[in-house]
Structure formats: C-alpha cells, structure tokens
C-alpha cells in the first residue's frame, strides 16, 4: 500500500526521464555522434548519482514553498503534476515538470489554507527566467572558446571530432548528474516530509531517508530515459535550428552548467565565501535552458535559422503550466479528501511544521525495497558492462574479418 503512494512520484520521474532528460544527449544523438545506447546508459547512471549525492538543495527550496505534510497530499500533488505534464504533452503544449510541480504545490497550499512563501516563489520564478538567459550566455561564451581553440591549433577535423565525441560523453555525464541533482526535487521533493525511512549502511556511505527516495526517483528517471526517450532524442535540437557537432557539445555543457549552478550547495557556499551573491537552489526546466542555449548559438551566428516561436512557447509555459497544475492539484485534493476520505494535509501552525510520517514498519519495508533496488542496480550494472564489452569485441572482430574477406575477394 505504502508503495502505491510513491507511484505518482515515480510516474512523474518516468515522464521527466522520457521528456526532459532527452535534452541531455538529444543534440549528440540527433547529430549521430553518440549512439542512443551509450547515451542512455551514461545518462541513467549519472542521473541517479546526481539525485542521490546532490538532490537535497533544490528539495529544501520546494519544501519552503509548501511543506506537504501528509502522504496522501504528497501522492495527490505529484499525481496532479504528472497528469498536467502528460496532458499538456499529449496536446503538444509546452510543458515543464518543474513548473508543474510548483503549480501543484501552490494548489496544495491554497487547498489546505497554508500561505505560499512569496519570497521563495519569486526566487523560483526568477530562476526560471534566468535559466534560459544564462544558458544563452554560457553557450555563446563556450561556442566562441571552442571555435577559437579549433582555429588556433588547426586540429584535423577527424581528430577534432574524436575529441568532441569524448567531450560529449563527459559533458553528457555532467549534464545528467546536474539534471538528477536539480530536478529530483520535482519528482520526490513532496514525499520527503512524509517518509521517514531507516538508513542504509553501505560501507563508508550511509543513505538517508531522503537519499533513498531520491535513488528511487532517479531510477524512475532512468527508466524513462531507457524506455521512451529515443524518439525525443533523435528529434531534439533540430526543432530550433540545425546544430553542428561542436554546437551540440556547447549546448550540452551550457545546460549542465546552468543546472549545476542552481543545484550545487557547495558552489553556492563558495560564492558566499568570496563575497559574491549565490545562486538560489531552485529546480529549473532543462528543456527551457537548452532552448536558451541553442538560441544563444543562433544569435551569435546571426539569428538566421532560429525558430523564434519557441520563445513565445516558453513564456506561455511559465504561466500556463503552473496554473493548470495548480487547478488540477486543488480539485484532485478535494476529491481525494472528501470522496476517498484520505488525509491530504493541514495548515501548519507557526514555524514548527507538523507532518504525519509513515509508521516505522512502513518505513522499514520501503527501506528494504530500496536495498533490493540497490542490489539489482549493482547486478544490472555488472551484467550490462560485461555484455557491452563482449558485444563491442565481437563487433570489432566481425568488422575486421569482413574487411579482410572483402580485400581478399577483390584481389
């Protein structure tokens, strides 16, 4: 039963993997520089690592926006966001998981009579606007740098491309890590106050309750990447403008940097330490950051091939997605509470937040599931690595055999 509550969050994670995570390697896979299989494996692994290691920063911000204090509420809020994402995608409307979850949380705040922290909300909204702009700025700077390096060193284009391929894998891994760190709050953030799982000890590493939830969310995102993102990856990038291979690398790096800046607590404290203003820990939309990055390159190249309609779509998304998610969340909470009689939350009194964590036996059972998941991940990882290695060796051998045969017959 307890796992049923998590299903809505896992579904949201799956759709984030299928849609948003496709942006990670979309430009590389679309330009056929990296195979989908390689991209999916790297993205899945690093999304999970990013979520578990660095997912807490943005979760705290979403918690400040609305501390969903009953597990029924967490389920409904995540479900409302997931349904909004699903419906808007189905009707080809621009949508972002980040904006959907924020709208759904505000819907919960209104329903339960909690006030929405305006300061946090304005921080979140300004990060949404800053994300694509920063993406554009980073991509212009990186694009100029890459081209200058290419020109100054007169690197052979075939060698340059081999560096690019390696760079794309590294940048993709970094982008996946940052996406996991930044966007896991959208998927699992609302469940954190309601779940209190027992810690898992893995040698030197201890997985806290939140980290176990992040891991499950990360696995859901990975499942979305593996099962449903191929088609999206193959079309992304060309929607806005055609991308060259170096532009693909730049877009990926710019996106990774923006997501990292908005999710790294250690970088924020480093900036504070040297007296600079730090970035708020806010989940931003990876799709919108990537659109900003691609447009940045387009602007640098003279803005000839840009489809400017996507800019208007982003603006519409900032308003339409939270509004729709908020309404869906509000009405769903009403039904869940009044028809099914499930507690969805109550007004927090004062500064002390009241939550209704699950009974400890439920927490232990979810923890043991998390342990089994970890074991399964480990085994799948080893089997996949062995299989990949074996297949690569076989492919290389077959190729060289057919090449030899060809020349022998030709002679």
């Amino acid at each position: 039963m307890i796992l049923l509550y998590l299903v809505s969050g896992l579904f949201l994670g799956w759709s984030l993997g299928a849609n948003d995570a496709s942006n990670l390697f979309g430009s590389a896979v679309g330009s056929r520089l990296v195979s989908f299989r390689k991209a999916a494996v790297v993205a899945s692994v690093f999304v999970i690592i990013g979520a578990v290691v660095q997912g807490s920063g943005t979760t705290i911000t979403l918690g400040r926006l609305g501390n969903v204090n009953a597990v029924g509420g967490s389920f409904t809020v995540a479900l409302a966001a997931a349904v909004t994402v699903y419906l808007m995608t189905k009707f080809a409307l621009p949508v972002s998981t980040t904006q959907a979850i924020v709208g759904a949380i505000i819907g919960w705040n209104i329903f339960t009579g909690n006030s929405t922290d305006v300061k946090t909300l304005s921080q979140i909204v300004s990060a949404w606007i800053a994300g694509p702009i920063l993406g554009a700025v980073f991509s212009i700077v990186l694009y100029i740098a890459v081209r200058k390096i290419k020109r100054a060193f007169e690197i052979h284009i075939i060698r340059f491309e081999s560096y690019l391929k390696t760079g794309l894998i590294i940048a993709g891994a970094f982008a996946a890590y940052s996406l996991g760190a930044n966007n896991i709050a959208n998927v699992m953030g609302v469940f954190i106050p309601s779940f209190n799982l027992s810690e898992i000890q893995l040698g030197f590493i201890t997985l806290s309750s939140a980290q176990q939830l992040f891991m499950m969310g990360g696995i859901a995102i990975a499942a979305g990447i593996i099962t449903y993102s191929k088609r999206v990856m193959e079309t992304v990038g060309s929607n806005i403008m055609e991308l060259s291979s170096e532009a693909a690398l730049v877009v990926m790096l710019a996106q990774a940097l923006v997501l990292f800046l908005f999710s790294s607590t250690s970088f924020a404290s480093f900036l504070k330490g040297i007296g600079l203003p730090s970035f708020p820990m806010v989940p931003v939309s990876s799709s919108q950051v990537i659109v900003g990055s691609v447009i940045g390159i387009g602007l640098y190249r003279g803005a000839r091939n840009i489809n400017f309609r996507v800019l208007g779509e982003i603006g519409t998304g900032w308003v339409a997605t939270p509004l729709m998610a908020g309404l869906t969340s509000f009405f769903s909470l009403f039904f869940v509470k009044n028809i099914f009689g499930i507690e969805v939350g109550w007004k927090s009194s004062g500064s002390v937040s009241q939550t209704s964590p699950l009974p400890s036996s439920a927490g232990e059972s979810v923890s043991s599931i998390a342990q089994y998941l970890l074991l399964a991940l480990f085994i799948i990882g080893i089997i996949s690595a062995a299989l990949f290695f074996f297949l690569e060796i076989r492919k290389t051998k077959e190729l060289s055999r057919s090449e030899e045969k060809f020349w022998k017959n030709l002679k």
Binding site: S35, R151, I158, S162, K165
Partner: protein, 216 residues
C-alpha cells in the same frame, strides 16, 4: 578509447596517403607526356606502370576510407560530402591513367611545332590538379583557408582552357598540311589532357561549398 584513437589516426593517415597518390599521379602524368613528346618510350611505359599502381592504390584507399567512416560513424554530418570529394579526386587519377593509356594505344603523331603547346596545356592542366591537393588537405585542418587556395585551381583551369582553345584553333586554321582525321585526333588528345583541369575545377566547386558549410 584506445581503439577509437587508433581508428582516427589510421583514417587520417589513409586520407593523407590518398592525396599523396593523386599528387604523385599528376606528377607522373606530366613526366609521362614529356617522355612521349621526347619519344622516350621506355620512360613513358615506366610512367604508365607507375600510374596503374597509384590508381589501384587510390581505389583501395577510397573504399577503405568510406568503409571506416561508416563503420565507426566518423564525421556523420560531413561524411557524404567528404566521400564525394574523394570520389571526384579519384576520378582525376582515373582520367590520368586512361589518358596515358590512350597515348600508348593510339600513339598520336604530334607535330614538332605543337610540342611546346602540348607541354604548356599539360603544365596548366596538371597545375590545376596540383593546386587542388593543398586546398583539399586544408579542408581537414584549416577550412577557412580553403577558398583562397582554390583561386589558383580556377586560374590554372582557365589557363588550360585558353591554351587548348588557341592550340586547337592553330591546328584547324593554320596547319593546312594535316588531314582532317589527324586534326580530329589531335583535338581528341588535347581534350584528354585538358580534362584533368576540368575535373579539378569540379572538385574545387564542391570543396568550396564544403568549406563554407564547415566554417559556418
């Protein structure tokens, strides 16, 4: 990763070797024509043998480059154009081989008075081909310099064109002592020599567009 680096290195070496083959082929053609005009048939046949081995090596390299680019998914966005360029450059060495073979089979009688003209047409035509090689090499390393290098190809092609026109005019209007069949034969031979610069120009046109696309 090590396997991939080796493939990259091998492919770069193969492309370089392919260009070397075309370059050598042009040199052999120039020397072959000189030997024929000087009636040094032993040297001429040696050049034919040399061009045959260069042409077959160029074919082997062309196929191998195409195969490797596809199997290892190298330059996916420019692969088709690079293959076409290599194909068009291979056509140059194919034409050189067939032209020298035409000389060897038909043994055209070239009057002494036309020797210099034939040498000049050969020189201009071969130069057009030779100027294509650095431009093609530059595409891979410094694509922004390709177009300035190609100017020389166009210059020599137009020179070869002019020289061939004036020689043909001289043959048909001034050399009354030659019968029409011989005049037609000489025109045909001139066309063969001039063809090399035409092919170089065709490859240059493609290279010029490729350079713009890769620089953008």
């Amino acid at each position: 990763m090590a396997v991939f680096t080796r493939t990259t290195k091998n492919l770069i070496l193969k492309i370089d070797e392919f260009f070397d083959n075309i370059d050598l082929g042009l040199l052999v053609f120039r020397e072959g024509i000189k030997a024929y005009l000087n009636r040094d048939f032993e040297a001429f046949h040696r050049h034919i043998e040399k061009i045959e081995s260069l042409e077959s090596n160029a074919d082997r390299l062309q196929r191998s480059i195409g195969n490797e680019m596809i199997t290892h998914s190298i330059l996916p966005q420019h692969r088709a154009e690079v293959s076409t360029l290599i194909d068009q450059m291979d056509e140059i060495i194919d034409t050189i081989k067939s032209s020298l073979n035409e000389f060897s089979i038909e043994m055209p009688e070239i009057p002494d008075v036309l020797h210099n003209d034939f040498l000049n047409i050969t020189e201009a035509s071969v130069s057009a081909g030779e100027e294509l090689i650095p431009a093609a090499r530059a595409y891979f390393k410094a694509p922004f310099t390709v177009r300035e290098k190609l100017l020389r190809v166009y210059y020599f092609e137009s020179e070869a064109d002019k020289l061939s026109r004036s020689t043909r005019r001289f043959i048909f209007q001034e050399m009354k002592e030659l019968d029409l069949a011989r005049k037609a034969h000489l025109r045909y031979i001139i066309h063969h020599i001039e063809n090399i610069s035409d092919l170089a120009q065709k490859a240059a046109d493609l290279l010029s567009i490729m350079a713009i696309k890769i620089v953008l």
